[in-house]
Amino acid sequence: MKNKLGPVLKLEDVAVAYKVRGGEIEAVQNVSFEINRGETHGIVGESGCGKSTVAWAILNFLGANGYVKRGSIKFLGQELVGVTGEELRRLRGDQIAMVYQDPMQALNPSMRLGDQMSEVLTVHQQMEKTKAEKRCIEMLERVYMPDAANVMKRYPHQISGGQQQRVVIAMALLNNPALLIMDEPTTALDVTVEAAVLDLIAELRRDFDTAIMYITHNLGVVARVSTRVGVMYAGEMVERATVEEIYKNPQHPYTQGLIRCVPKLGADKATSMLYPIRGRVPPPNNRPSGCIFGPRCDYVQERCRAERPELRQTEGGSWVRCHFAEEIDPSQWTSSDEVAPPKLDADKQHGDPILELKDLRKYYQVQGSSLKDVIGLGETRYVKAVEGANFSVLQGSTLGIVGESGCGKSTLIKTIIGLEDPTSGEAKFLGVDIANNISSRQQHLIQELQMVFQNPDSTMNPSYTVGQQIGRPMKHFGTVPKNQIRSEVIKLLEAMRLGENYYDRLPRQLSGGEKQRVGIARALASHPDLVLCDEPVSALDVSVQAAILNLLLEIQQEFNTTLIFIAHDLSVVRFFSDQVAVMYLGQFMEIGPAEAIYAPPYHPYSEALLSAVPIPDPTVKQKHIRLKGSVPSAIDPPGGCRFHTRCPRRELLPDGGKICEVETPPWRQVTEDHRIFCHLPLEILSTFDPVISESKEEI
């Protein structure tokens, strides 16, 4: 009944082209979908598939050389293609709003938040200043911004990333737009913040009847927010269906492949496997004839090469662009040899501890700004980045570290590798003390301890070729005779599935996934015993992520390498790790075998993290726990248990958890290697229900 007015947005057979030297490139072809009032339409796909281009086409924001070549985009019954000037400005300001991935780039750093927010109202609606400010405060409260009136007076850099994104969303909603386009709005946020923002989006959609177009690469997020989903591949929409259908009954081989790439929460490497999709997305100027997914499809037949499939409706009601959708049975699927995941030895025994940390601390001194501080009489204050790290890692095993941003994960790793000097405590690697300054560290220890960084772009010298980058550590440590370096590098490149032709390429000629492979190859060049990985797959597409994870598993298997693995994606950590440590504000909260962390008894913080993970399956029921506020400052961390300010389980203790504020909690030993840092006794912790339960339908 709500839709008697027709869809808010309707795209029909849209093609977007960019004019380039020597012709033009069709970045997007044959995209059709519609969004009704109060509906969220998810658009998923790997990077470079044209998701954002579609969004820009709607806003006519394609730049000087881009234009809509064919098709029609209708917004509230009116054609948008060809609309320019004043009309377009009015539409963008009044009826369509957009939220981008990086909130910091959407906010003006030199204006107070209040000023830039109320500008929306004073400019477009000619509202009075005081009234506009009142509306802004109301809207900030609506998006659950703590202390809204105060936030209005601050500058963007003075609030956290999650809060910035809320300001952007509030700003987008000020004009009560009919259509809200969100382009990866939560990708840069922590899981806990992401969960809160996703809740908010669902609520606002209901209350304001806004039509939302939600672009993301994360299948879990789509499952949580969308009502319908469109899957894009290489500029085409290959499948479109309701969210339940997409996950239960994916029709297109590409959708099936995507779902096989992501680890299910609770899956581990011993019992399940990830299957990357072979090959990669073709560039827009070199698309195959026939079915666009043909070259990567396991079911490809003669007809697929000759004839381009049309988007057609199947009996189940979903739309799919495949000749053989009805005949494909994903349960009969077997991986082709090219992408076969490594065979793991399930009963592998881990060796002796390779790395032992005892009460390792890292404090940073902070300079105060008062006069006393300047002349050196002030009290010295510290950021307690890592507090009392106590654990050991066995040879050949993987330790996963999880926690929100700013909780000291990277600092811990940097302290181990020697980029930071520890403040106190012991760190032994292969029995040798590594807690002292790195300049006095022996050459062979440096060689045995390598690191893979999160952002391969900023860690590679842009003017060195791939071969030089990987060959450098070999030359430096003398692990390989000089005349064999080249062949050794090529061997490594082949192990990374890159091949010899990459030897002379420069970093800028590589895609994100390839760069990360080079980064891993470089870390492995000196045959290290311990590799520290700081979010190595976070910036990558799911299919590349699956390939890299498989690669790391394979290398670990072959060289018996030990890995410490930081990631914010809890399903990846669960899949990949033998041991998992949960950190909060520099303090370890829980440490134990992976399967033990993901099942009761939980630390309350682990429980909250788990309930926030977006799961790529809309039928799974998750407990709804949302942490209030953000991580407190590490300069002045809360006394007692550091988590007490946000702990949802405190009330279970007598006196509303008075003890949590004053006393440091004890380590509770669940099993020999599973410890929980909490005042709550194990008997109570064990009574928590599992966070994730399968839906009843499936039982």
């Binding site: 008697k4 007015l5 009116q78 009309e87 009015r90 300001g93 609606q125 000619q126 009560n176 009919a178």
Partner: protein
Amino acid sequence: MLVKDYMTRHPIMISPETLATKAQHIMFENKIRHLPVVGDGKRLLGLITRNRLRVPPTDLPSLSVWEISRILSELTVKDVMVKQAELITISQEAVLEEAAKIMIDNKIGCLPVVEDGIVVGILTEVDLLAELSSLLGGGVHGVRVTIRVPDRPGEFVKVTGAIAAQGWGMYSSGGVPSPKVPDYWDMVIKVRDVPQADLVAVLEKIEGQMIVDVREI
């Protein structure tokens, strides 16, 4: 049951400078009868109805094809719309019966919903009919009974009490003064998952009330 729960948010709107022919096209294509005219910031300036687009031949200097197309090519929304001064609007916090009364009294088919001069939605007679339909349990299968009760306190509770005593639940109910019968009210109730005969047997026992109509729909 407030206006804001039943209005259509984000209605299709048009700017005053648009050609009237385009307005006609939009209304025809989207099958709508009312088109709010808004300026910058969705500020309400007027309203186009289908009536407004009927340009009477007497307004034309001649019926020559050329003359007509010349006039149409210059006619903008601003020229034909109901101007703001004559327009009746409603706030989104108003109750539905208030909206209905305004529409009946003025014999109009739609009310733009406005907050501070800005259009937030539109309420049409269809929205009100949808509300009436759901008030009486339209579209839901059950036994629909019309009972005529004397206009005095305590009569309604007799009906609900009798139904509750059987462990049944009433899905919907409504009441109006009986047409043409003074001092009586007609109550319409709908009960689900009950055999019609059983329900009638229970309701017939109530003294002073009379079943006017029973049907299973």
